[in-house]
Subunit: 140 residues, 2 copies
DNA sequence: TCCATTGGTTGACATAAGCAACTAAATTAA
DNA sequence: TTAATTTAGTTGCTTATGTCAACCAATGGA
C-alpha cells in the first residue's frame, strides 16, 4: 500500500473524528450519554442482548453491564430472561425508552441538518454517495 | 434536507465510529494515549500553542494543560515562552518526542494497512477519492 | 457426572474529562 | 497613566468513563 494513500486515509480519519465530535454532541441536550443513546438505538434496531451489544460496540462486559443497569433503573429498558437459555436476557425498550429515543433521534437529526446547512444539495448527494462507497468497499 | 439523507449520514457516522475505534487502537502498543499521540502529531505539524490545540481539538483548557504537563514531564515536549507575548508558550517536540512520534506514526500506518489488507487496490483508490470528496464538500 | 465455556454481574480501581476559580500578561478605553 | 477587560494558561476539586479480575449460574460436551 502506498504511503501517500495511508497518509490520506489518516488525514480523513482525523478530519472525520472532528466531525463526529461536533455531531456527537446531540446527547448534550438530553440527559443521556452518547453511549446510552447508541445502546437505545441498537436495542431498538434489534441488537437486544448484552452479548450482541458487546460485539457490536466493542466494550468491556462489566462496563456494559453497569450501563444497562443504569438504563434499567431509569426505566428506559427492561430485561426478560430468554426461556430457551436462562443465562440470556433479552433487552426491551420500555415506553419511556421509546420516548427517550425519539427525542435523541430528532436532536441528532437536527445536528446533521445544522452541519449540512451550508452545503448545496448537489454536494450533499455526492457526499452521501461517497459515504456509501466507503462503507460498501470497506465492510469486509 | 431529506430524512432519508439524514438517515444515511447517521448510518455512515455509526459505521465510521467503529472503524475509528478499530484503527485508533494504534496507541495501545506504545504507552501513549490517543490524545497524547494526536497532540504530538499536531505540534509537529505546526499547531504549537495550547490555545491552538484547544480550538483544533475542542478540549477543556484545564484538561489540556494537564496533558501537556504530562508530556513535558515525560520529556516529549518542552515549552518556550514567546518573547513577543509572555502569556504564550510555544510547544516544541524534544528529540524523545520526535522519536515517540515516529513510533506512533509507523504503528498507525500499520493499522491502516491492516484494515485495508483485504481491500483490492482499485477499491482503495475509490475509497480515497470518496474521502477527499467528503472533506472538500464538507469543510466549511 | 465432571469440566470447560458462556452470559452476565460485581468489587475495586484507574484514567479521562469537566467546571470553576485563579494568576499573570496584554489590550482597550478613560 | 491607570482602571477595566480580555486572553493564555494553571490548579483544585469533582464526576464520568473505562478496565481488570473474580465471581455465579446456566449450558453443552466428553
Amino acid at each position: 500500500m502506498k504511503q501517500s494513500d495511508i497518509d490520506k486515509i489518516r488525514q480523513f480519519d482525523r478530519f472525520y473524528t472532528n466531525v463526529l465530535k461536533l455531531t456527537d454532541k446531540y446527547h448534550l441536550h438530553t440527559h443521556y450519554t452518547l453511549l446510552e443513546a447508541r445502546i437505545l438505538l441498537e436495542i431498538n434496531a434489534g441488537t437486544n442482548t448484552a452479548n450482541q451489544l458487546l460485539t457490536l460496540l466493542k466494550l468491556d462486559k462489566g462496563y456494559l453491564s453497569r450501563v444497562l443497569k443504569k438504563l434499567e433503573n431509569d426505566k428506559l429498558i427492561s430485561k426478560e430472561v430468554d426461556p430457551s437459555d436462562l443465562r440470556i436476557k433479552k433487552l426491551i425498550l420500555t415506553n419511556d425508552g421509546h420516548a427517550a429515543l425519539d427525542v435523541i433521534n430528532s436532536r441528532a437529526d437536527s445536528q446533521i441538518e445544522g452541519l449540512f446547512a451550508n452545503v448545496p444539495s448537489e454536494d450533499i448527494n455526492n457526499i452521501i454517495k461517497s459515504m456509501e462507497e466507503i462503507q460498501n468497499k470497506l465492510k469486509e
